[in-house]
Symmetry: D2
Subunit: 358 residues, 4 copies
């Protein structure tokens, strides 16, 4: 009839309460039992009002620095606009706070590198995470484990796609101005997966990309497209190829296929909202999630819980921050190739070379 | 820069820390943010030891009545052995506590009815729930919603199965002594689903059942089987048929199919552990969960959260307690038919009749 | 630069050119290269006209006996109305012709038995086949081979369904007058499969059946239903259960599941017209065949070729004629149980017993 | 009681009785009822011996020209080694015979063009077909029809793969010496499909390709690979991307996906041998065909029947011969890009340009 002391909780703040920020806030409040959301930052009155109703007990700041000074704060989740990710992350890191920053750290490689540099100066017990949500997805983890155990032999070819439902509202057109382009915004996840499954030290030999505006010609004004294919060749005799789209009719379809010399793994080859199948005059069908949150909602909860646990228990995070810059470099190169129409070549130590001169 | 008051939490206790009790405890501790597990009951020293390590801050009682007297306790989750479900539930109900009792309330119809009777004397604001976990499963809810909206016309035929992985340890043989039989233990879920989709007032016209011991002949000593088929005919021109098995090779396969006059819904027709597909020399395959918790873990979390919310906010529970007795009645009739080999008939007002005399 | 003699062809006649007869005729003409369709019988002028256009070189008779006397005729395919199957088959058999008779031989057990009796008097080199088309289906054969090789252990539970698309024209209502009922007409295939997978000598212990008119109440005038579930218990500790329907929204869905002690085989669990999947606003879907011919067209071609080969080469047919009567007996018992509402019991040597007296 | 005259049959010869030739011969003999195989050519004694046993009544020639002179011959199927396709086809065409030539017409573009040129001089009633078997596949035809009817909007992105099972015998290494490379040998089918779905007049803007030797390093001696990815950009704002592999563990997996602005079509996304699913300790799985004939056997039969009908009835063939040269041009450009590592650009009228100078 005795009881141990109740467990300590991580005092955490959410920066940004837009679409993604709201999701992070609700996940940490409702599904991360070891975390205590104590503060949040938003400059938007409407978002602050939302917080009053939906985040009881959470102090809302309209100033990021003030939020960082919240008494007893231990950790910050950054889900503001991409343009301030790096700046906010560096401030939080330098203040000694555990920091989870949404991807990408920045759309500029040098700025992203500054976050990594800031993190490098800190002790290991301060946890810094870039939010590649697929790393926390049960199916991708299952795949990774099987690859590690050698069950498909040597992984040689990786295909991966991030495909959004067509949004006729024009959202993606406006978004393209700041997104860094379809490869930096969407395929960055697929690139990160390639580095996961092929190894973080894989060296790029060439990248090339093509794209079209199939349904949203207005994207051309931002030199972007709504459907793109990119190919990355690695010096280790491996190939990754990516498809990104903003024009799916049914809904989100993010999937990956890893081909090894002795087998193949497919993650989400047949997308689904849940386990229901419907038969009617049109045949037998499954519906699919309307967006990436419908596909990866569980992964976000796992991310929240594992980040919290790592902060509280000083356990290692599942992957390193440095990969976020590597993924960005590859994404930016693909985007450049898309725009120039040229293939880009790299030598074995990572320097860019002109193929004509090889 | 203001914050609302932090939300109140439901003070809840877990009775029983066996296989299922541990799961309930961890779910309420880790995934039900509005609940505060303050106490638990177990007579087993090993389970108490487990609680010390895994349930920090929870007071462990070796006496059920003492646990009920825990200061400030508001709600109880009963997941002890089936034989004490009813007794514990009635005590908790009579003490004015919100009560969630694992299924079945009892394997004896009259005892189960006593729980319902006790609940009937209490105010609506005291929440009493029988834990039919599938009622909280997203896929089943999706199906129910489509049925309600008329998208498959009138539901006429319902097929549902609860199929466990073969457990060569002999667990199910020992368990059969107290389980009430395969229809009461397994098919009770499927029966409850039939009452959900056909309507709780559906009147049984006949039941019949057959079964075999395919892999575990020792079950015969408890007049039970490891594979059984049961058919329930309703006066409303509807049929439900059930398959229950303890001998699946791959893992858990619980599924349902609802045939309407204009379409058909299938829940979990193609079982899966996650979204990974594996291709190797044997073909293309998906693995399946090893047990029902692998299939319904999410549903248990939803159950915990919804029960908590109903208690705190005085909102209605998604289904009535009375159905638990009806499902038990049908399950017991199927089990009797299995044992006697005879079909059992009922008249339109529910009285049992001999077909020969009709 | 030599050539062997061209191969001899089987001179065959088609009796009946209705829906099924036309299919047999076209299959033998177009897809059975060792058969030469030389004659056909139909009493219908419209069918004879169809034959003139579609069966060039085939002599059309309006008298069955005259057709049997066609010079050089070696084999007959009987696909007339069920009511004359037995009579025509017996005539053909007695005339020494190879005979392929569509299922069922008759809806009357004694009449069907007469066909078997007639066949029993003939030499083995005269081939007599009852057209259970699923026996020639590649997927069912694959399943059978795996069962024979022991890959699923001992088969214990068999589920099988024959489900037709809803035909609002009233065809099935008119048809029910002569069909023998849904179990004799539809489930006979599933029963035959049970005898295939469980062994032709399996002894029935009990049968019971229930049914409803979900969409076609007019079937009641013929004591028939449009949705039925039947259960057959075997003395060898095996269960077969069947579902038959005339009300599918999407199309034909005939499927089977064989549960063994070490594995399970599923034939056509996910029906499909072909290998095309369609993704649009409604999700991801596959269409299904409109009728059984869309599902089993290939099997009919295999049947035609194997029957032809057996006749020409005196090779054994893949299954015995006697099973056709056994399947009919079980189908008729299910139909009786459906009508009476009573379960029917048999002792270990096949005699019917009253359960009350056991 | 009259009969029309028996139908006339097409007198056809098979040139080449290797792996593919045998298949064509058996298909025409057994599954093309309007064709009469009267002759065959093979220089190999073992193949001639096979023909004696398996092609009764067919005259076997060891000299191609002699076979062409077979009395009454009307049509030829060419399935010899690729290196003599063009020469044999031209001879047959010039002799006025209907000609079906296996793909590719040649691995040399100019030689392939000569076949097209020869065909261009002949009357329309002389049928000349290049054997792109997928054009005759029911699933691809279903897809094509849906595209034509506008059901997926404008097709914008096409993904297609030809993936062979790993053959550890070294067959593909030896074969690579004469195959023209993986894009010319395998992807030519996928390229032909792209031209089908995007339109035969689609103009290539760029091609690029990468490849690796994942399991068969010996392929490098022929400048070939066992896994390759190629991307083709069209001036009409369309992209086709291809994957070809010789290293699948499970078996053949040829599939395609056509993304339109309003939907998506997938052909063979989930490969299968037949409709059987197997559940055992490893999960739920389907096996896949060991080779392309297991996938496309039916298509070859359709091809045989449609070619025969076109010859006999002077009906149009389903696609033009000229596309065979276009597909070869694209395949050869991809193969060149694979070897050089360079992207290849074309202007709007089809001339090759250096991107640097654009």
């Amino acid at each position: 009839m005795t009881a141990t002391a109740p467990p300590r909780k991580l005092r955490i703040a959410i920066s940004g309460l837009g679409r993604m920020g709201k999701r992070h806030a609700l996940t940490y409040v409702g599904r991360a039992s070891r975390a205590d959301v104590v503060a949040a930052f938003t400059p938007e009155a409407s978002e602050a009002a939302w917080a009053s109703s939906n985040l009881p007990g959470v102090k809302i700041y309209s100033d990021y620095d003030a939020m960082l000074a919240h008494p007893g704060l231990e950790a910050v989740v950054i889900s503001t606009a991409t343009s301030v990710h790096a700046e906010q992350a560096i401030k939080s890191i330098n203040k000694g706070l555990h920091t989870m920053c949404e991807k990408p750290l920045s759309i500029h490689i040098d700025e992203a590198q500054k976050v990594v540099d800031a993190a490098a100066t800190r002790p290991k017990s301060q946890k810094i995470l870039c939010g590649f949500s697929r790393r926390f997805d049960a199916s991708y983890r299952d795949a990774a484990q099987r690859i590690d155990s050698g069950s498909i032999g040597r992984p040689s070819v990786f295909r991966s796609q991030t495909c959004d439902k067509l949004d006729p509202s024009g959202f993606f057109v406006a978004y393209a101005e700041f997104s860094g382009g379809i490869f930096v915004d969407c395929s960055i996840h697929d690139i990160d997966l390639a580095l996961w499954f092929f190894g973080p030290e894989s060296r790029v030999k060439s990248v090339s990309a093509v794209g079209v505006c199939a349904a949203q010609p207005a994207l051309r004004q931002h030199q972007d497209v709504d459907n793109a294919v990119g190919v990355v060749e690695f010096w280790e005799d491996r190939i990754a190829y990516f498809y990104a789209s903003r024009t799916m009719a049914a809904g989100q379809h993010d999937m990956s296929e890893i081909v090894g010399t002795e087998g193949k793994l497919i993650v989400n080859g047949n997308p689904q909202t849940n386990l229901l199948e419907i038969s009617d005059k049109t045949g037998y069908r499954r519906e699919v999630p309307p967006d990436y949150y419908g596909r990866f909602g569980e992964a976000f909860a796992t991310e929240a819980n594992e980040f919290t646990a790592a902060c509280l228990d000083d356990t290692p995070l599942p992957f390193k921050l440095t990969g976020a810059v590597r993924a960005l470099q590859i994404g930016a190169a693909l985007q450049e190739s898309l725009r120039s129409g040229k293939k880009i070549h790299f030598d074995e130590v990572g320097h860019r070379v002109e193929k004509a001169t090889l």
